[in-house]
């Protein structure tokens, strides 16, 4: 079983790297677009806010943007990936793996996350160099928060992927959701419900670490508890919905359709 798992993981990892290389223009252009959008936001905020914009605000912006990039990349990898597989006619073949589609999906997300982390790190580095706004990159504190912070986006990815199995063309909902993520992330802490919104607590805690220079163990344990709970809840919900939609798709014979 372990050997099989390793072989599947290696096959998926290799395939993802090959596909990324073959779609290099797409990869590079999405990075450039994300960079340009951030620079427009950055200079826009500085121009409009004037003296009211502090360094902390700009640092917070960089952290929020990094988390958002990671979230939309993870989310769209999962949801778009599934739609593309259905379009290409390879989705049913993936369902024919003896280990099961969930493992393939899991390994694909892991690979995607590693690639995305590298891309976001490079982008944040370039953003820091260009803007002169430097963040504290305490990896021991940042990585766990980043991973837990983006998990709700993966939950939404699973939900959207499940819906895509049945309804196929739901791209417009995908695009809207990317902007809804921004709303979730910046919802004010004063709202009692905001801590339970996807990405919100992750953004708050990452700000405390990367802007205020606090370490992971110096953070409020109840906040970390909320982060874990929110991550598990959205991910669990996403997986449950995906499982339900898979059953419906099998019943209606929709796995191979697009």
């Amino acid at each position: 079983m372990l050997k099989e798992l390793f072989c599947v993981m290696r096959a998926v990892f290799r395939q993802q790297i090959i596909m990324m290389r073959r779609y290099m223009f797409n990869t590079m252009s999405s990075m450039v677009t994300l960079y340009i959008v951030f620079m427009l936001l950055f200079f826009g905020v500085r121009a409009v806010g004037g003296a009211a914009v502090t360094t902390a605000t700009l640092e917070g912006m960089v952290v929020g943007y990094a988390l958002w990039m990671l979230s939309i990349m993870g989310y769209s990898d999962l949801a778009w990936g599934l739609i593309q597989e259905a379009q290409m006619g390879t989705l049913e073949k993936l369902y024919l793996s003896p280990l099961g589609f969930r493992w393939i999906c899991g390994f694909r997300q892991l690979t995607g996350l590693i690639i995305t982390l590298v891309m976001v790190t490079v982008l944040v580095g370039i953003i820091m160099l260009t803007t002169g706004v430097y963040l504290r990159l305490d990896l021991v504190s940042v990585l766990p928060l980043l991973l837990l912070g983006v998990l709700p986006a993966y939950g939404f990815g699973f939900m959207s992927a499940g819906l895509a199995l049945i309804y196929k063309r739901i791209q417009s909902a995908f695009q809207i959701l990317q902007f809804v993520f921004v709303g979730f992330m910046v919802a004010p802490a004063s709202w009692p419900i905001s801590a339970y919104l996807p990405l919100n607590m992750g953004n708050r805690l990452l700000n405390q670490v990367m802007v205020q220079g606090r370490r992971l163990w110096e953070l409020d344990p109840s906040d970390i508890g909320t982060l874990v709970l929110v991550a598990a809840a959205y991910c669990g919900l996403g997986l449950a919905l995906f499982g339900r939609m898979e059953t419906v798709a099998r019943d209606r014979g929709l796995l191979g359709h697009y």
Binding site: K3, E4, L5, C7, V8, R10, A11, V12, R14, Q15, I18, M19, R22, Y23, M88, G89, T90, E92, K93, L94, Y95, L96, S97, P98, L99, G100, I104, T247, R250, D251, R252, G253, L255, G256
Partner: protein, 319 residues
């Protein structure tokens, strides 16, 4: 011996309980023994693909059971999938941005095979399908025939005992189709694998398969060996060449008795007819003699599977 595939009273109804309910499978049953090469034939909507997908667990049946080497698809899907591989939609089943070899490595990897285990056989398949020289070229740059061959190779490379090929020659030109079926035949003979081949291309089925299951409207119309099916028609299809013209009243009589009779009037009169019972040939001869017609020649027509298929599906002949 355990059958490689068992299908029992398989029922699939799409949109169950609605006005537009589609009864794709209406209680079909059959078994396939290890090493058999079986053709699944039928017009569009006959239920061939649904049958294959139910066996593979890609579609949940409404009723009945499917088993692969004794493992029930519903309860032991992982064991079923471990023993099966498939080409489901021709060349749409592979990654066009990846090369033939990369596709083979990926799909064998999904079956838990390491490169050292899969590569020698993958290379053999590339050689067999004459793809060795182009194995590093992205699939999208290959011809339609080559892409199809890569898809078939990907299904075979996993070395599962059961292989499903759903329309493997769809859209191929005559030459490539011939080449592909030659390779499939060779593999079937050499490796003793169980192959279920669904196709509209009767020549592929006639050439590669030992047995054929003909489906129509979710039911099995016939399940017999290809040889039996052809011999059934070989003894019943006749072509008469008459020296004189066929009078219209005699043609009417013929049509009343043999509705599918074909009469051609050129330099000679040719009558082609399929009799449902061998003794009916005497009836025909008597009719011609009474009309004072000379029979110049009688030939037993060499039927092909296409003819057998069409007549069975139309319900003209019962096996």
């Amino acid at each position: 011996m355990v059958p490689a595939i068992e299908v029992e009273a398989l029922v699939k109804t799409f949109n169950r309980g609605r006005k537009n309910a589609v009864h794709a499978l209406q209680g079909i049953s059959f078994s396939v023994w290890p090493g058999e090469v079986v053709g699944l034939l039928g017009p569009n909507g006959a239920g061939k693909t649904t049958t294959i997908k139910c066996i593979l667990g890609l579609i949940s049946p409404t009723g009945g059971t499917t088993r692969v080497y004794g493992f029930d698809t519903r309860t032991h899907r992982r064991e079923v999938v471990r023993r099966t591989s498939a080409v489901l939609e021709g060349s749409r089943n592979i990654y066009w941005r990846m090369s033939a070899l990369e596709n083979l490595d990926f799909f064998t990897g999904l079956y838990g095979m390491s490169l050292s285990e899969s590569r020698p056989y993958s290379e053999k398949l590339l050689e067999l399908f004459r793809l060795r020289d182009r194995k590093h070229v992205p699939v999208q740059e290959l011809s339609a025939g080559m892409r199809q061959k890569v898809a078939v190779a990907c299904a075979l490379a996993t070395r599962t005992p059961v292989v499903f090929l759903d329309e493997p020659t769809l859209g191929l030109d005559v030459e490539t189709s011939y080449e592909l079926r030659r390779s499939l035949k060779q593999l079937a003979e050499e490796e003793n694998r169980t192959i279920i081949l669904s196709s509209h291309d009767m020549h592929v089925v006639q050439d590669v398969c030992q047995r054929v299951i003909i489906m129509n409207q979710g039911r099995i119309v016939v399940d017999d060996t290809v040889d039996n099916l052809l011999s059934l028609f070989r003894t019943r299809a006749y072509r008469f060449v008459l020296s004189d013209g066929l009078r219209e009243d005699l043609e009417r009589q013929l049509r009343a008795r043999f509705p599918e009779v074909v009469v051609r009037r050129d330099l000679q009169t040719v009558v082609e007819v399929v009799v449902s019972r061998p003794e009916e040939i005497y009836l025909l001869i008597d009719l011609f003699r009474e009309a004072g017609l000379l029979i110049e020649s009688i030939t037993q027509q060499e039927p092909d599977l296409e003819e057998a298929f069409l007549r069975l599906v139309r319900g003209e002949v019962a096996c």
